[in-house]
Amino acid sequence: MSLARAAVLATVAVIALTTLVSGPLVGAVDLTTERYDATGLGQGNATVSAVEAPETARLDSGVGAAEFYLKVPDATVTFESITGKPTVSYKISIDELGYSRGTTHFFAESDVGLATLSIAQDSFARSEITAESYDGQLSITLRGNGTKQVLYDEPITVEVDR
């Protein structure tokens, strides 16, 4: 048997056997891991020593695109200690646009120190954005063991960049 032929057979055998052995019929081993370990989420607590959040955000159109994207700079939180799996939500709301968006971040004990929070971009059709700037509210909230602690809650100016 030539080397090339042996390589083909060996490769097919390895791939097929691995697939079979980890499959539901044989089930000798489970090779897949759940995307997120959701156990105990929101259970736990943290002490925070510093919070930094932006004072302005931008509504920005760009190359060729005429709609606006809301770009909120990242905030940072410094954890002194973490127990369990607390969550931190980072949220912006703009009443004038009837809009709010928050992103919940999950933390575990290994995340002690500086952590970055971000908000995913949302887009607005051109006709929705009529003013030159909007007043928004930016908040950061820590949740754990059924309690809620507001770490930051300040106004933010949203500038429209046409």
């Binding site: 030539s2 080397l3 090339a4 032929r5 390589a7 083909v8 060996a10 490769t11 097919v12 390895v14 791939i15 097929a16 691995t18 697939t19 079979l20 980890s22 499959g23 539901p24 019929l25 044989v26 489970d30 090779l31 897949t32 891991t33 759940e34 995307r35 159109s61 760009g62 190359v63 060729g64 695109a65 005429a66 709609e67 994207y69 770009k71 995913a120 971009q121 949302d122 887009s123 607005f124 059709a125 051109r126 006709s127 929705e128």
Partner: protein, 641 residues
Amino acid sequence: MSTATAGWRRRTRWLRQRSATARRVCLRVLFGDRVGLVVFLACLCFVGLFWRVGTFINDNHTLINALVALSEGHLYIEDPVIGTLEAPGTYLHDGRAYGRNYGQLVYTLPFLWGIQALATVADLGVLLPALWSLLVLALAVQIGRVTDHERLATLLGAGVALIAFAANVAVAHPVQTRVVPLLALQASAAVAAGLTAVLVYRLLGRMHGTRIAVAGGLATVVVSPVGFWATVPKRHVYVVALGAGIVYAFYRSRHRETDGFLSATGFRLLAYVLVGAATWVNGAEGLLLLVGLVVVDLPTASSNDARTLVLIGVALTLSLLPFFATNTLVSGHPLRPPEVLSPFSYPTAENGTAPSASQGGPSSDTLDPNLPPFLGRFEPLLVAISAAFSRFSDQFEHGVRLAVTEPGKILHTFVRGRYVEDVVVDDHSQSVSLAVTEAMPLAGALVGLVPALVASGRRTIAERGQSLSGVRGSPSTATDGLVVAVAILFAMFYLPSFPLNAQVTARYLLILYPSVLYGIARQSAVRRALETNWNRSIWAYACGVLLGTQLLLAVVVGSAFGRGQAIQFHAWLGLGAASLLAAVTVGSTLDDRFDPILAVLLGIAAALGTSFLLLSGISYFQYGQYALPVVETISRHVAVG
């Protein structure tokens, strides 16, 4: 040796010979030759890179639900397995919900059974990377055979396949078995896209040799937006594949060769049979293909004797039987496809307790009262046919009128899209619609047809006229006519629909992309530039894909572009490349000193197309989970909002 062993040996040898023959026949019928198989496998490997196990548009739900219903042995949808019955494309008749595109669903059934069978022994999260690795291995083995570097290619392929499999399994996530119907639709679409590439390869191979053919075939999936829709459960790639099949069969029908499995007339009939199959996928698009084929086939055929015409009629009618059958089962009328029924809606306080009755069906047009009496018995059928044709011709006429009165619409559909508030609002406030040239910058090279046609027109006049007999004598010219006719029919039919949301790459016009590639490959200046500068072209393409894609991604992620901004960035770059390419193609048509630049620009424009497909798949449009977990891991770091 006992006689029993000898008999067993004889039987296995016989079996081996039979299976080798069967494989040879399969290879020839499906792929033409081994190079065709390489094109096919390469396209599937490419598409697998950004195969997302998820639904892209909510009308995907309709097809998934209808496929499950079909696999249970009925056409009506009982309980939706995904989404709701109000998904677009779910129709109502006599209180029951139905899907559409039944031809596509029936073709997908074997894929469903295959994946269901595999899912009983394999974890889907491991199975998908396993299948991809096996495809890579098969591709390497076949490339080795074609290029006479069997050992090197096979060893490399085995290495890549194993490493990719190990890496994917290391980060694999579970895939729920309830996505099996979705996987089946995606797999069947990917195979249809791969076969489209093979048909383009086979057609161009017979016209212009292997190299041009491989380039054109691969470009169909790897460069053009056919690759974008190759794993989306929608009708488009199936109709494009059947369209390519029709063109190929038509071309073969113009040759009197003895090497094929079918005679020239056989291929002519095959073209009409494929029209029937396309009609089963989508009635209107089947009609477009039929009109295109009839308009070009009848005037250019070497003979239209009564026997052939009857055979064509019989072939077409037989191929339409499945379409008539599912229509009858759904709406009670063979010529009333699901698309003309009313959309399903759940009962509300206003419309009573039961789902409302069907309002659709053929319009109340009646035929000319002076109809010969013997035709009277067929009147319901004729009314339905004439209604279908009049609906069809109305929209077509509307398109042609728009093309004349609103040339801006042509510009915005084919060259540069524009911001249309209503469309953008429906696309989650993101301008993600591209015009044809923006979606495939290579289309710029089509402009070279203008000077080429002018030159050949002059020659024709100098040779004192070339009539239909000339076209009849040239299979290639007749095929050009068919491609142009089909492209114009689709363009005019769908023009009134644009601008429209959820199109991204003008998907209604998907058949135009392989047609444009064909139009580029048919230009002698382009072929000359490529044939004398292959290395330049390939280097330009490779650098464009390997370096250019990363550069584009760095700009998009670095500048925190939104999805619409990223896509418009591609649009502008594509338009720039397309304009340069157009100018240089014209230059090359007039003077061959432009050839080296043309070769480089063709490579760059093609690379922009590939980059768009890769980045759309990995960064801009993330949904569901990736078939290859490693790609999913990468995609998390390059998401664009």
